[in-house]
Structures are given as structure tokens and as C-alpha cells.
Symmetry: C2
């Protein structure tokens, strides 16, 4: 009886919270939850500070801002917030541009707005027509929308809105998601279900998710989206698909989200019937010009092309004896008249196997510096290999001062536990952004390279490979949302701290209750390091399972390309382990500026987190901890597993502070993560032990199975391929 | 200002209805919506009639029933309904079995319950311990759950609950969904996204959707689910997958939903390393027995196997010179000790091309009657070809009196407009079920064959190929839900009318408002006939696009099997059109009992809806309408398009009576349906016109494009393959 009564109470509570048959909370609303503010005092203050909403003008973007503010404020305040086109009372929220709003114009904000550009905004407590108001002002409608989201965030995170004086503008111009989505709705390296884009039903059916996707992106300042996989299918450039692309672009436009496409380099042959795709061939150039004009006829604000060429089997200019600049410039000329850009990826493969895969992009691109058109960005992955759990920054950053270099981060967790591991990536992003290239002396950070300040570029960009799919919560893992969120926030302002971003994301996504926020934030901040430890500690890299990249595979060898195998990268032998990239080895280190070389060159000075990236190190070498390398490796792997168990414990303490459905999902995923962390630890240690010939230290947990067991595992139908 | 105020009002209204940032209504809740009853008088009556809920006993299934009743009644009544294990007041709802509930036992319902079997239930207004109560009584817990859903349905459809005396039991024992879901989450002929089964995250992560899927099925009495595609992958029979299957079975069990698997006939070779899969080989038999025992060790209530053998490339007993009974019996022997069954499909293909594809199943299976084990059902598609928009009933119904024949309907709309056409399938199901086989004289309906009453079988079954995917609304099209619903309702009670099912589904899914229900029900009831008209009127069949089966393809010919082409089926020539299946042709008609033959044998008596199925008819033959065949064909195709336009008009009139999101989706889909109906009409008429050499009648809309245009259309990435 008592158990039943308790159940009933819980059910009723749920009903009150959701007002219908509750399936719990599925996470669809992301960080855009506008539930009533729970803190009574703050609620009262907010209610007093927001009496009405005044928006003059009615562009699609302003309508969107008005709707968002109305719905958001009504939800957060638990009271109706009337909308007006005239100011009628104290404590209004006034939003607009000087051009469209007499109220905003009357505030003489021109000087302050001038420095904020096309997308920045002010949020001010101001005296408007004799009435105290909160003003959201910008030079453009999209700036107003961005400011509106910022204002709502203040309330969602329960900050003061009493004496506001906020000015914000993005540090990087193009903040772009890369969707590796195929036209059949599979998503390469996608772990959140399948593609959002239901091409078959476009253009006639506009799924509400398209709108909500654009809303979410606008709320964090993402202003571009590449709809299609870099391993491109030319079909998307046909009329049949362009009308579908146009429908998506129309849905996204009010949210300031511009559409880009991937250009398959051989499209002139495949679609145009030409005999060549040589970028210097006039017919090929004409074909791309015509095709581009056709695209603009459907999508007047088409952003441009993202290209993967001469990499992993993709065609490119080198097929015709041309270089990457020749290819990029041809496309750049085609989009230039309409203000489009080309994002040309530096993730390239040579036909022949290199002595060190890490050196390839630098070798191919560095000599091309200065030869690209003004509307080309070279898009460089954060590290020189491929989105490993940890990589030192890519040597191309800072190495091409005459070329805008664009960052490519991976938000989807191809090598970071895929769909089920909680790994908060902001610390990874920040580690790269704050790395110092020394290109122009100390302080030449990667962030300054990509925000253009180091080399005075105004064309700047940052891309994130999307982790979004058609799973109801968008990202599969609830905490995958945090990576989408932090990518957007850092793209806007790379000086934000990982902690600040986690703090606001947690508050907006779950609750402001500090009993929840404090421990879970702590858990998030340590999660990336935990993953590095149980997967690839001490600078190890590229030792994952073949092809699907799921689980450990340090034994992978004898494939058609050595630089796709694990043994190529870890180089374990009886002596030691690690890739010598100093002068005694591949000398990849020489691609960095001398002060950076100096940091990495000598084993004893090299930070241990990069040790095996740059050095082949003896198993018995003493480490900072006083342990020998082998023992340290064992401790790192074991520590990674221990960290996951601590995450599980932390999570268990917050049960009841948030809804049960999301709690359960994260709890289940942490269980999977612990299982797979052990898998990584045991498989890697048993394998490396065949070289080190040393025992796993007594105080550490022993592997559950034999090496043979792990080597014969052959997971089928792994998502993301 | 006024427009904005109106917008605000609408937004606020939405907020009140949903109490959070509303994304509208996405259809996830299916027909299981428990929003407060809107009719004030009925609400008051219901509130007075339901004071508390008394459930004695606490099995998993009873807990589920209690939760459903609590949440459902609380939502519908807008007031808390306390749960008690003792009767404390008048107007209680008392649910349970005589075995577990003293209250139920005291009512002496044994006699009435006896006839209701393992799944039936009573819903009675009764005097319980001196108090007027509503009693939901059954012999089993699952019967109680079924009765609970029935009771909730009464309130959802605003029927009286004052003097209830309802007895209900299913007419068919096994009511099963067939999921053609592959292990990579693609769904063969699935048009609602991808597979619900996220195999990769099983068994650790139990998605809430699995529970909600089971709930939905239980609410309409579906008690079995085949998780995997009939084009089977043996991997699902490995330990790695069986633990995943077990996790799903555990989630489904409280809802009375039993799990089945498809058995790949060659699994003993592929998994077991045997040299043969010959069903008479003792090693093969032993392998299946061991495998079956292994399955039962994971899933103690495993239902059994569904097998597609010797069909469309699938291996089977004929590979070893054995027949279908040999194959089925081997598997039947393996599952028999545990009470399992084998559902052996009659959809078979011969290696050599038959003179008439329609005759094949009968030819192969009829001679096997009496040779199957007692726990084998032969699963027969509703018609002899393949789920065409309309087919006469399959001649195997009634032809194998010693064998339980199971119906296989297709709920997913492979040939019926796939993802976007509104086609309510209950009329199709009913047309087949009420067809008279005359196997034992007049009144020997197909329904009586499959419910076992004609030939005294107690083992009975009905299967529906699922239209469920991971789209948020489960079925892609909102109205696809009605087909899932009506399959379940008819599986339980095939005497229900299509109108009654549509009526209750609409009320539960959308609203009880008759301004909505009446016109939309009318639209649903005509929708299947509309589709037949714009796709395959007058008995035409199998003239769809190649392979993906999307859109028209009457010109398909010269493929490696003639019986996969369109020209094989329509046989249009300068004389006329249609497949002569009488004695002058393939004589497939001889497979029916004589009274049925008589109906179809002569052109002038044959119902026009089957005319071209059975006869090759001259273009200038006079039809019932007075028109010649060609003109009638043109009118039918055009009438189909007109019907869709009427559906669009009808739908437009109900805007505002339901939520905007579902309204918009259906409106968009109807637009696509109209576009594709025209495509079918124009392509088919232009093509058939090349034979008829006659003009399309003056008063009809002319084709928009040329025949060449339609023939060169080549849709890519069509869903469902």
C-alpha cells in the first residue's frame, strides 16, 4: 500500500510537471528549456523586470526573435508577456536595430554598435523614452536574434538582469557545422541515429525538426551548415536535389543559418558528361560557373563549397597534375561573384605511403601559401593525424600566414567513444585553441591564427563535424548536446572557459540546482582526460578497431596502407613504444616553429601527454611519477577506468534532481562506457605486454579475458559507417 | 498589432495546452492520449463514476495495468484517482483475476470468464461488497491489462460507462507484427525512418520507445513481434545478439508481447560450420535443437521462428531436394518441447519462371496439406502476387484444411504510396477477410479459415508487416498509425467494421469533435479506393517502379525474371489489356473453389475491380458505366486524382480543430500524394495509350509531361530498401 501510494505520488508529480501522459523528458528541447524559474526571489525580480516586449519591424528574423522572446519569457516568468510595437510601460524589453526601431535609434548607440559588426549585439539596461527598459540592440536583425537568445540565457541560468551592459560580437566570421550525412540518410561517423535530412520528402515536407535545428544553432551563434558528407555524392548538385536544398535553406534563413554543399571534384564528368575535371580546363571551369549560378538561382544566399579532394579515394586536382590551389581557385572563381567561399580541406592522402602520415598536410599545403584566392579558406583538422583523443596542434596553424586557415574540430566522437561515452570536448577544443604556435613569437596561439588577428585576415572560419542525428535527443548521448553547445559557444568566443560553458549548459539543460550542477560539472571537466587515459594515454594514437574505429585494435597491421594500421603509429617493440618524430626519426617535429620544437624535442622535457607521439621511449624509462613507463602506462589505463567508475558514482548521487528518463539514459550509457573502458584497458595492456614482457603492477585490476579473446572480437553493424 | 496579438493569443493557448515550450504535437503518443475529457457533462459523469482504483496482486503485468489506469484516468478525469488494494468507497474501478483478487473472486464470474480464455476479459458494472463498482475481470493478468485498455478507450471515445456488460476475447491466437528490420537498422520496405531496435546499444540501454512500443501493441491486443527481417541474417542467432533479443523480450514481457525471430535456413552452415543445411540431416536437426535450447535459455517464453525459404534468393529445404514441410517440421520439432511455433511463409519462388506467378504458392503448398507438424502455421499473404493495392484473396485460403493457415497482411505501404500516401487499409483487410472461399460451402470466409472455426484449428494466427520505424510519430505518416491500429483491432476481432475502427482511432488520436471526426472518417474510408484508382484500377497489378517499387513503371520489362516485370502482369497489347487467368489463359482461376471460379470466370460477370486480374479485355469493351474499357480506365485514373484533391479539401476544412503540427504534416503529405497520384495517372495512361491508340477523353485533365519524361525518371535513394 505504501509503495503504491508513493508510486502514485510520483506519477502525479510527473503529471503536474508535464500536464499529459508523461513519457519523461526525452531531451528534445536541448538547452532551450523555458520552464518556470524555480527560485522564488529571482522569479519575482524577473517578473518585475519584464513587463512587455517591444519589437518594431517585422522581418522574418525579427518575427523569430519575437516568438522566441515571447515564448521564452512567458515560460520562464510563468506569466504572459504582452507584445507591443510601442513602449507603454516601465520595464519593457525593447529589441531591434537603429534602422528599424525609432526607440533603438533614439538611444544613440551608433558608436557602441559600430564595433560589433554584422552579428554582434548590445544588451543594456537603459532609459528609453523616460522609461527604464532592457534593450537588445544590434546593427542587424540577426544580431537582435543572437542578443535575444543571450538575454534568455541570463534568465535560464538565473543571472541578474538588473543593470546590464553587455556587448558581444563573434570573434570568427564563419561558424559552421559539417554534416557527414549521405543522401541515403546514413551518417558517416554519426552515432545519433540517421540523418536529419529526409531528402525523399523534401521539398514538400518541412519537418519541424529543421526549424528546431536552426533555432538551436542560432541560440549559440552557429551561422553555417554544410548539409552533405565530405565524401561527396555529385547528385546533390542536380536540379532534383537543389530544390530540396533550397527548401532547407528557406527554413534556415530566418535563423541566420546559411547553407553550404560539398562539391565532388569529379562532378563535371559525372553530371556534366565532360571527359575531364581538370581545374585548368576551360570547359570544366565553365561547368562549375554554370552549376554555381544554378545553385544561386535556388539558394540566393548559398554559402559556398566544402571540398575533400585527393584524400581517401576522393578525386581532386592532383588527378590532373594540378595542385590543391588550382582546384580551390577554380571553385572560388565560380562562387566569388555571389560572395561565396570555398573551404578546402587539408586532410589529404598521398597515393604512396609516407614515412610519416603526420607530415603530409604540411608538406602539401605549406608551399601553396599565397597562391589561394581571397575567398578560399584552408580547413585544417586540429591535429595532424585524425581527431584522436589527444593530438598536439596541427603544424599548419601559423605556417601559412598569407592564407586564412580554418579550424576543423570533430564534435561527433568517432575516436572518442562514439555514441555512448560521456566525453566533454570543450577541454580538448580549448587545449588546441590555446596552444602557442610561436609563429610570430610567444602568444601566437592557434586561436589567433583562426580568428585572423595574428595575420590580419578578415575571412575567418571554424567548423565542427556534427554529432547530430535523428535520435530524439539530437545527439544520441544526452551529454553529446554539451559538445554541440560548446562548439558553438567557443566558435563565437574562444576565450570562454570550459567550466563556464559547462556551467551554463548544465543549468539550461537540466537544472540550476547546485547539488546537481557542481558535481556533474566536475565530472564533465574530467571526462575527456579520463577517456584519453583508458584509450590512448601518454601520446599514444590511432590504435582503434579497423574501419569502424570502435573499440581497441592496437594489433591492427598488414593492411593495404601501413598508415591506416595501428602498429605504424605505436611502434611498440621489445625496447619500448612510441613514434620517434624527432630528427632521429621522421623529424615531423621540424614542421613546428623552433620554440615548439624545443618543447617536444627532448624526451625529458616533452610533456608526458605527448610523449609517445614524439618519441620512442624505453619500457623502463623513469616517468614523472617515479614509475617506469610500462608501469605508468598500466596506471594510466587503469586510472581511466577508475575515473569512469567515479563518474558513475557521481551520477548516481544526482538521481531525483532531474527527470528520470534522462537520468536513466545517462546511467545506462555510463555502464556501457565502463564496460568499454575496461575493454580498452585490458586489450591494450595485454597487447603491449607482449612487447614489454613485464607484469601488470600488483595493485591494479587484472584483465578479465585473454588477449586472444579481445583480438577475435569482431563487432558487426557498428553505427556510423 | 492585431496580427501580433492574435499570434500571442495562439502561442499562449498552446502553452496552456502543453505547459512548456511547445513544438506542437509530434504524434508520439499515438492513440494513447489521456488529455482531459472536453465534454463537461461527460467529464462530470466520468468523475462521479470513478472514485478509486483497486488492484489486488502485483505481478509485472498488473503493475503495468495499474500504472496505465492511474495515469490514464488521472489525465482523462483531470483529477487524482487514488490507488488502493482494498475497496473503500462507491464507484471504484476494480481490476484483477479471481485467482489473485478476493474481490473479483467474490463476484462468481467463473462461468462467464471460462469462455474468454487466456486473454479475454469482462468489463462490468457490478455490486462489489455492497458497493457499485466497475469491474475489469479476466482469467489472467494480461486479460486484465487488455480490459484496462478497453475501459480507457471507452472514456477516450466518450462512451457511457454507466451500465457496462462487456465480454471480449480474441478470435485469433497469435496476433503478430513482422518487422522487416535489418541488423544495420535499415528497414526493408520501411518508410518511417529506421529500425526501432538500436542493436548496438542493447542489451545495456533500454530505450523508452521499447516500452512505449509494447504499450501501444498491448492496447490493441497484439501479442507477438518478429524482430527481424524475413530476408534473414543468421547473426541474430548468435550469443552476441541473443542477449540483446533477451533484453527486448524482458522489456516487452509485462505487456504480453512475445518475441519471435526469423530463422535463416542456412544458419547451420554459416554459424555452425556444417556442410549442409539439409533438414533431414541429423547433424542439422541437432544443430537447430541446440540453437533453440540456447535461445530459450535467454528468452524463456520465446515464441518461435518465422521462415522465408526458397524465395527471392533465400535458402531453403528445396536446395537439398526436400520440401517446405521437411524444413518447417525440422524447426517445429526443435521448438515444440518449449511450446514454440513455426510460421512458414508460403510466399515462394520457383527457380524457373512460372507460366503464372499467381499459381506458385498453391502449387507448392496444397499438396503438402496434412504433412506439417501440429505447431506449424503456413503464413499466406492476402493475395497471390504481393501486397498489391488490390488483389483477390489468395487461393490457398480454404485449400489446406488440415493445416493452420495464417494471414499475412502488409501494414507498411510498399505498393500503396509508401511513406506519404494516406490510405486507410482496414477496408482492404476487411475485403479479404470477408471474401468467401466456399471451401465448405457458402459462408466459408477467409476470416473463418484463419480464425480456425472453418476447419477446427485451435492454433491460429495473423501477421502484419510493420509500418513502424524510429520516426517520432512511429509510422512516418500520421495516418499510418491508423493502419497499425486497425490491424491490431481486426486481429483481435475481425468482425469490427472499418468505420467503427476509424471512428475510435480518430477520437483517440485527434479529437472527439464531430466536426473533425465525421469528414475525416469519410475521407479515410474512401482513401484506399482512391489509391487503387490512381495506381491500379480495374484489377491491374504489379506495374510499379523497378526494385524500390516507388511510382509507376508499367513499362518495366526485360529483367532477369519475367515475373518481376510489369509487362508480364498487365499484358497490354493493341487488342486490349489484362492477364487471362481463365482456362484460355493460365487457368489460375482453377485454384479457387468452383463457386468462386464462377464469379470470376466470365468477363461479363467478373466484378470490375478484379477484371484485368482475371481477363485480357478488349479496349473497346463496354463497361458497367457504359464507357468502353479505355475510357473507363482513363476515368478511373482521373477519378483517383480527383479523390485525392477532395481529400485535400476535406483536410483543409479541419484546420484549427487539431494541433497545428500534425495538421501541417498531413497537409504536406496530401500535397505529395496529389503530385504522385498525377504522376501515376499520367505515366500509366500515356503508356497504355501506346497500345490502345485512343485519345484520353476530352473532359479529363491531360498529362502534364510526355511518356518519355516519365520513363526517364529515376528516383535515387528511395527509402525502404
Amino acid at each position: 500500500m505504501e509503495r503504491k501510494s508513493l508510486n502514485l505520488l510520483l506519477i502525479l508529480l510527473l503529471l503536474i510537471l508535464t500536464n499529459n501522459y508523461s513519457y519523461g523528458d526525452d531531451g528534445y528541447r536541448l538547452w532551450q528549456r523555458y520552464d518556470k524559474v524555480q527560485d522564488a526571489e529571482k522569479l519575482k525580480n524577473y517578473q518585475q523586470s519584464v513587463s512587455e516586449l517591444v519589437i518594431e519591424g517585422n522581418s522574418p528574423t525579427l518575427s523569430v526573435a519575437q516568438k522566441e522572446l515571447t515564448v521564452g519569457l512567458t515560460g520562464l516568468l510563468g506569466k504572459a508577456v504582452p507584445v507591443s510595437q510601442r513602449l507603454t510601460q516601465q520595464s519593457a524589453v525593447v529589441a531591434g536595430t537603429p534602422a528599424n526601431s525609432a526607440l533603438i535609434a533614439s538611444l544613440n548607440l551608433a558608436e557602441r554598435l559600430n564595433s560589433l559588426g554584422d552579428e554582434g549585439y548590445l544588451i543594456l539596461t537603459a532609459n528609453t523614452n523616460g522609461k527604464k527598459s532592457t534593450v537588445i540592440a544590434a546593427n542587424t536583425d540577426i544580431g537582435v536574434l543572437y542578443g535575444s537568445f543571450h538575454f534568455l540565457r541570463l534568465l535560464q541560468t538565473q543571472q541578474s538582469i538588473s543593470n546590464l551592459s553587455i556587448a558581444s560580437a563573434p570573434k570568427i566570421k564563419h561558424r559552421v557545422l559539417n554534416h557527414w550525412d549521405n543522401l541515403d540518410r546514413t551518417v558517416e561517423r554519426g552515432y545519433a541515429g540517421f540523418s536529419l535530412w529526409d531528402w525523399h520528402k523534401l521539398p514538400d515536407y518541412i519537418d519541424q525538426r529543421y526549424i528546431d535545428y536552426a533555432r538551436a544553432n542560432a541560440s549559440i551563434g552557429i551561422n553555417g551548415t554544410v548539409l552533405t558528407n565530405v565524401n561527396a555524392n555529385a547528385l546533390v548538385l542536380t536540379k532534383e536535389y537543389l530544390v530540396k536544398v533550397a527548401a532547407l535553406a528557406d527554413a534556415f534563413r530566418p535563423y541566420g543559418l546559411r547553407v553550404y554543399l560539398t562539391a565532388r571534384f569529379s562532378a563535371p564528368i559525372e553530371l556534366g558528361g565532360l571527359k575531364t575535371a581538370d581545374p585548368l580546363d576551360p570547359q570544366v571551369q565553365a561547368w562549375w560557373k554554370d552549376k554555381t549560378e544554378e545553385i544561386y538561382s535556388y539558394v540566393p544566399d548559398f554559402g559556398g563549397f566544402l571540398v575533400k579532394a585527393n584524400s581517401e579515394g576522393q578525386p581532386g586536382p592532383q588527378n590532373y597534375g594540378r595542385n590543391h590551389a588550382d582546384g580551390a581557385n577554380m571553385l572560388a572563381d565560380a562562387v566569388a561573384p555571389r560572395g561565396g567561399i570555398v573551404m578546402w580541406r587539408a586532410f589529404v592522402y598521398d597515393d604512396k605511403e609516407p614515412d610519416d602520415r603526420a607530415k603530409q598536410a604540411y608538406n602539401e599545403f605549406k608551399p601553396l601559401d599565397g597562391t589561394f584566392r581571397k575567398n578560399v579558406l584552408v580547413q585544417v583538422k586540429n591535429g595532424a593525424i585524425d581527431f584522436q583523443p589527444r593530438e598536439p596542434f596541427h603544424p599548419l596553424f601559423g605556417a601559412m600566414p598569407q592564407t586564412p586557415i580554418m579550424m576543423e574540430f570533430q564534435i561527433t566522437q568517432e575516436y572518442l567513444g562514439q555514441g555512448t561515452h560521456l566525453a566533454y570536448l570543450s577541454p580538448l577544443f580549448k587545449e588546441v585553441l590555446t596552444s602557442d604556435t610561436y609563429a610570430k613569437g610567444k602568444g601566437s596561439t592557434v586561436a589567433k591564427v583562426i580568428d585572423g588577428t595574428l595575420d590580419n585576415h578578415t575571412l575567418t572560419g571554424i567548423a565542427g563535424v556534427s554529432n547530430i542525428g535523428n535520435d530524439r535527443n539530437w545527439t544520441g548521448h544526452q551529454f553529446g548536446q554539451a559538445n554541440w553547445y560548446s562548439f558553438g559557444r567557443l566558435a563565437w568566443d574562444h576565450t570562454l572557459s570550459s567550466e563556464a560553458i559547462a556551467d551554463e549548459w548544465l543549468k539550461m539543460t537540466f537544472t540550476n540546482n547546485n547539488q546537481f550542477v557542481a558535481p556533474v560539472k566536475n565530472m564533465m571537466l574530467g571526462s575527456h582526460e579520463a577517456l584519453v587515459n583508458y584509450m590512448t594515454p601518454l601520446g599514444l594514437h590511432h590504435i582503434m578497431g579497423w574501419s569502424h574505429h570502435y573499440g581497441p585494435g592496437p594489433w591492427i597491421k598488414d593492411k593495404h596502407r601501413a598508415d591506416w594500421t595501428s602498429v605504424y603509429y605505436h611502434r611498440a617493440d621489445e625496447e619500448g613504444i612510441g613514434f620517434d618524430r624527432t630528427a632521429t626519426g621522421s623529424n615531423a617535429i621540424a614542421q613546428y616553429f623552433p620554440p615548439v620544437q624545443k618543447q617536444f624535442r627532448v624526451i625529458k622535457k616533452c610533456p608526458e601527454k605527448y610523449l609517445l607521439w614524439f618519441h620512442h621511449v624505453k619500457w623502463n624509462r623513469k616517468m614523472d611519477s617515479g614509475r617506469i613507463l610500462w608501469d605508468e602506462l598500466c596506471h594510466r589505463y587503469s586510472g581511466g577506468v577508475d575515473s569512469v567508475r567515479q563518474m558513475q558514482q557521481t551520477w548516481n548521487t544526482v538521481q531525483g534532481l532531474i527527470d528520470q528518463e534522462r537520468f536513466d539514459q545517462v546511467q545506462s550509457f555510463l555502464k556501457i562506457q565502463e564496460k568499454e573502458a575496461k575493454w580498452w584497458r585490458d586489450a591494450c595492456l595485454l597487447y603491449f605486454q607482449t612487447f614489454s614482457k613485464r607484469p601488470i603492477p600488483q595493485d591494479l585490476e587484472k584483465p578479465a579475458e585473454s588477449l586472444d579473446y579481445y583480438m577475435q572480437l569482431d563487432p558487426q553493424f557498428v553505427p556510423g559507417i
